[in-house]
């Protein structure tokens, strides 16, 4: 992967391009292996994003969030 994706949607879009290219059978061996490596990196990134929202829903009140931010700002 030349650059890490900026968002989940960007990663998924690139992943689809990669799989389309691989499915076309037109990629040479070197390109195929490079695309597979890039694809695996993208899958890892997407999995990470999904894991970030996969540990159970957390609830917070706006005032709690604001206080937390203020506290972290004061520490910083």
């Amino acid at each position: 992967m030349s650059q890490p994706p900026n968002s989940y949607e960007e990663a998924v879009e690139r992943l689809e391009q990669i799989i389309d290219r691989l499915d076309s059978g037109q990629a040479g061996l070197r390109e195929t292996l490079d695309l597979c490596r890039e694809g695996r990196d993208l899958v890892t990134y997407c999995s990470g994003e999904l894991d970030a929202v996969g540990e159970g829903l957390k609830e917070l009140r706006l005032d709690e969030l604001a206080e937390r931010l203020a506290a972290s700002g004061a520490e910083g």
């Binding site: 694809g39 899958v43 159970g56 829903l57 009140r61 969030l65």
Partner: protein
């Protein structure tokens, strides 16, 4: 009204100083009472608007009735208010009401301030029809200003990690939204900003809650939701200030207010309008996380297949390539043997020709050698000749004369080689290198 009033008597100079040629001046108290009469004579009408600034005295309630374009100060006698039979506390800030009455003017008194007000004699809460008419006017205005387009241009994240929600703390909408998010397989963070969601009175609180959420950088989308109700119940979500605030936010707002048939202004202005909190959950998290995990696993498997398949498809070729060196060696060896045979055959075929050729070559070589030998002999001879020439020249009498010797010759030029020949000659010539001189032999003893 001027006709009924008699001007005060003033001197001419004062009249001129007061202004141009107008009727009067009139006594102000009388003018005020006439104004009151004029006002009260005007047609009685129904007005609809939002109540603000409610206050009460011992005898009347007063408030302002306003909408987006203007306002009128109103007053109603407490007796009339009681007769209206409104629910307890219905006449309060934010309530949408319809009043019947007409303009009035209180001329004031010695110590009381004068003032204009719309004297209401009847009051009722605004009905659906009244509200719809107002809603349409406002909707038309906001649409014309392009307010509805702003949120639609925002990019909604496919997988937000944090979403903000504005709703009532106790309500079915909250529960439904959470259920919708969990069904999505989404386990991010929900930031709640609870606010009253009933009536126009709630609008400032909802606006503040939305702004508070939008100010948090990690909040990627905001859901505004409440359950169904009458248009009057949902009226807070038609508030102009609220709608304009939402339009200006950089965070996408998803509205799910009321049921499908209800159409509030926030639905028009939001990035997405949903009919239920469950749909709002889907709009806030467009990615079905459960399905996405399955897709990812499939994608990964497809990648593995592609990588392995790609190698497998090339394996025979790779094996062939791997066997290449041995095969190439064998091929080379065969080629080499063939060449050797060809060369041998060619050698045999060309032997005779080559002998003839070699003989011709040898002839030429010998000839060249002979020539070379002849040349050497000539040179040797030339050298010997030269040497002889040098030796010969060394023996010439001129060379001896050149060194200072003299040759004795007789008068005929014959050399006289000994004493006796010279004594016999009497007259001789002495020959030097540079010439001869005559001489006479005198002493012969």
């Amino acid at each position: 009204m001027g006709e009924a009033l008699e001007p005060h008597r003033l001197d001419t100079e004062a009249t001129v100083a007061a202004g141009p040629d107008l009727p009067g001046p009139f006594a102000v108290g009388r003018y005020a009472r006439k104004l009151q009469e004029e006002m009260r004579r005007r047609a009685r009408v129904l007005l609809v608007g939002e109540v603000t600034g409610v206050g009460r005295s011992k005898v009347q309630a007063y408030f302002e009735l306003r909408d987006g374009e203007g306002a009128v100060p109103c007053a109603i006698w407490l007796d009339d208010l009681e007769k209206a039979g409104l629910p307890e506390g219905a006449l309060r800030d934010g309530a949408e009401i319809v009043i019947a009455g007409g303009p009035d003017y209180y001329p004031g008194g010695g110590h009381a301030s004068p003032g204009f007000s719309f004297r209401a004699t009847h009051v009722r809460l605004a009905g659906e029809g009244d509200l719809l008419a107002r809603l349409e006017t406002l909707r038309k205005q906001l649409r014309a200003e392009g307010v509805f387009e702003l949120q639609k241009k925002l990019v909604r994240p496919l997988l937000p990690k944090t979403i903000g929600v504005v709703t009532a703390e106790s309500g079915a909408a909250r529960r439904d939204l959470l259920a919708g998010l969990e069904r999505r397989g989404w386990g991010g963070t929900v930031v709640w900003a609870f606010a009253p969601v009933q009536d126009r009175h709630a609008a400032p609180a909802i606006t503040a809650a939305i702004q508070g959420l939008a100010a948090q950088p990690q909040v990627e989308a905001i859901v505004v939701t409440r359950g169904g109700g009458s248009l009057a119940d949902l009226w807070a979500f038609c508030d102009e200030t609220l709608c304009r605030t939402v339009a200006m936010l950089r965070v996408p707002v998803i509205s799910a207010v009321g049921h499908e048939r209800d159409s509030t202004l926030i639905d028009d202005v939001a990035a997405v309008a949903c009919s239920t909190p469950t749909h709002a959950a889907e709009a806030a998290v467009p990615l079905d996380c459960g399905a996405a995990r399955v897709d990812l696993r499939r994608g990964l498997a497809a990648l593995r297949r592609a990588a392995e398949g790609s190698v497998r498809a090339r394996t025979p070729h790779l094996i062939a390539l791997a066997r290449g060196p041995a095969r190439a060696l064998r091929r080379e060896r065969l080629a080499l043997n063939q060449k050797t045979r060809e060369i041998r055959a060619a050698s045999e075929r060309g032997l005779i020709q080559r002998l003839g050729f070699q003989q011709r070559v040898a002839g030429v070589v010998l000839e060249r050698a002979a020539r070379r030998a002849a040349g050497a002999e000539m040179e040797r001879r030339r050298t010997a000749l030269h040497r002889a020439e040098v030796a010969l020249r060394a023996h010439e009498p001129e060379h001896t004369l050149a060194r200072g010797y003299a040759l004795v010759e007789d008068e005929d030029g014959e050399p006289l080689g000994d004493r006796a020949a010279a004594a016999a000659a009497e007259r001789v010539r002495l020959r030097f290198a540079d010439g001869s001189v005559g001489a006479r032999i005198e002493d012969t003893d």
